[in-house]
Amino acid sequence: MKYKITLLLLSVSLGASNSAAAQDMVFTSWGGTTQDAQKTYWADAFTGETKIAVTQDGPTDYGKIKAMVEAGNVTWDVVDVEGDYAVQAGNAGLLEKLDFSVIDKSKLDPRFVTDYSVGSFYYSFLIGCNKDAVEACPKTWGDLFDTQKFPGKRAFYKWSAPGVVEAALLADGVPADKLYPLDLDRAFKKLDTIKADIVWWDSGAQSQQLLASAEAPFGSFWNGRLTALEETGVSVETSWTNNITAADSLVVPKGSKNKEAAMKFIAAATSGSAQAQFATATGYAPINLDANSLMEPDLRNTLPDMQADTQVNADMNYWAAHRDEIGTRWYAWQAK
């Protein structure tokens, strides 16, 4: 009798997971206010139209992607990753080729389109400052690296990724158009000069907490997180001078069991209206060229891609080719 009940339960639960797998797909991103917006404007809208349920998971973890692909047990169908990782992982055979008969790439910003990935959203590292906590706010990367003129802790992104190395070189006087190939020796020498005053943030939420509490009254931040923080009543001053742009990408890990649904999801998430709504909510820029006309012009003008005159584009291909080398050196330098 006991055995029968167990078997029954087992078959019920197996059946349930099977039928769930047929309809659901999983979207994985970095959590926080950004993933909240991705859920509302991309996933929920997509589910409403297609009846394909989208389960949210996270945070994105490159180790997990590799483990899933190698084990042949991929449970993430669409993942929001950093642009340079997308290029590298595509070349390393960890990703599915995107189906551009489903995803209309003619409207997508071509800078972020590869065989394996399309842009997810587009952001800038810029200088943020808590006006209430200091007498003067740094305006340039040079200011942010000047501990004499601007004493105090400064917040920087902890992980090896486009942004901080470029900021160090710009602060040291390298012209924006001569950044690549990156002079790592020079960058680390410059970073050495402020190392004792750096507080690292490892997530967007932490960066907001550091700035709001004035634990670090200024630093380099993702623009969307500053927008969100300002809305909570913190008086944030931003400087877009030489803001450094990078993009997240949407990818499908190789062996996804819901490939078709994944392609449809990416098509929907990168559509003009989904991108416009997401951009309005987060302050990140859309990667669909049609989104421009769908947004309030006032708001549109505050987004990163409108700061083009003073903007520095991080070179994703350079980063993809040197990601391991820079990463190894970066973490070794941090641990010193």
Partner: protein, 283 residues
């Protein structure tokens, strides 16, 4: 005939008893031993078969600094835990049981609280604009905030707090088992309070100190969450290095090598504990 029957029964009971542990053993083999072995194997197989990962790990001053730092943090946390935990254990051992139960409940309750929540709470208390610094500055005791977090101080405070129960509990057991008559005898023979402690109580409670210290040291070696949140990047410990290799650099060969080094050190210390300080043997 009855004799054979008896042995058979014993045999059957033994087999049955073994049967009950099979699920747990299978769980450990399939969900712990097998995957860990696979990760460790990668350290000698990736990117090409050979010992290059170990050469890179042990030949680099950066990684050696991480090793040293791991031992430093574990050592400091162990020493501080003993100094803070000993008086508590002593008090618990001699308190009326009604009270010691309450204190013990508080200590154990803290162990049941979520680790992340406790660590974040320390962050709020210790940061430059945190409660402790603000209070000290308002009282005029300091002019500039003390650096209490993102450094060794923060890691030590946060980890000592988490490790304290692991010192207090074994120590309390050992101190309780010391016959109070011995201390009375020492006092009667003319030993002062300090002498009573240093020459009688301390040596008798040494097995408890060593057991607690080894436990804390070994647990601290592999700690991840607290050092990652309360330490600075220059206080990196081995577990963080492993996570970095596995998650950020996606270099599993190096990650496996670092994990194996940690495992070997930990198992060696555990073997020392079993060999020399096994409480079951000491009795």
């Amino acid at each position: 005939m009855p004799v054979t029957l008896a042995t058979d029964t014993v045999k059957i009971t033994r087999e049955r008893k073994f049967g009950y542990v099979v699920p747990a053993l299978l769980l450990i083999v399939f969900f712990f031993i097998v995957p860990v072995t696979m990760l460790l194997l990668r350290s000698v197989l990736e990117p090409v078969p050979g010992m290059q990962n170990y050469a890179a790990l042990l030949g680099s001053t950066t990684y050696l600094r991480v090793f040293l730092n791991t031992f430093l943090v574990a050592g400091v946390v162990t020493i501080v835990s003993i100094f803070v935990g000993y008086p508590v254990a002593w008090l618990l051992a001699i308190m009326p049981e009604k009270w010691s139960r309450i204190v013990l409940a508080i200590i154990i309750l803290s162990m049941w609280t979520n680790l992340l929540a406790r660590t974040y709470a320390w962050m709020v208390l210790l940061q430059r604009t945190g409660v402790i610094n603000k209070t000290l500055m308002a009282l005029g005791l300091i002019d500039k905030p003390l650096a209490l977090v993102n450094n060794l101080v923060g890691v030590t405070i946060g980890m000592t707090y988490i490790m304290l129960p692991f010192v207090i509990l074994p120590l309390m057991g050992v101190i309780r088992s010391i016959d109070p008559a011995i201390l009375r005898a020492a006092a009667l023979c003319g030993a002062g309070k300090l002498q009573c402690f240093l020459r009688v109580l301390l040596p008798l409670s040494l097995p408890g100190i060593v057991a607690g210290a080894l436990m804390v040291f070994v647990m601290s070696l592999g700690y991840f969450v607290t050092p990652a949140l309360l330490g600075g990047t220059s206080n990196m410990m081995l577990a963080e290095l492993v996570a970095q290799f596995v998650q950020s650099l996606v270099n599993w060969g190096m990650g496996g090598a670092a994990a194996l080094v940690l495992l070997v050190v930990t198992l060696t210390l555990y073997a020392i504990q079993l060999r020399y300080f096994n409480p079951a043997r000491g009795k």
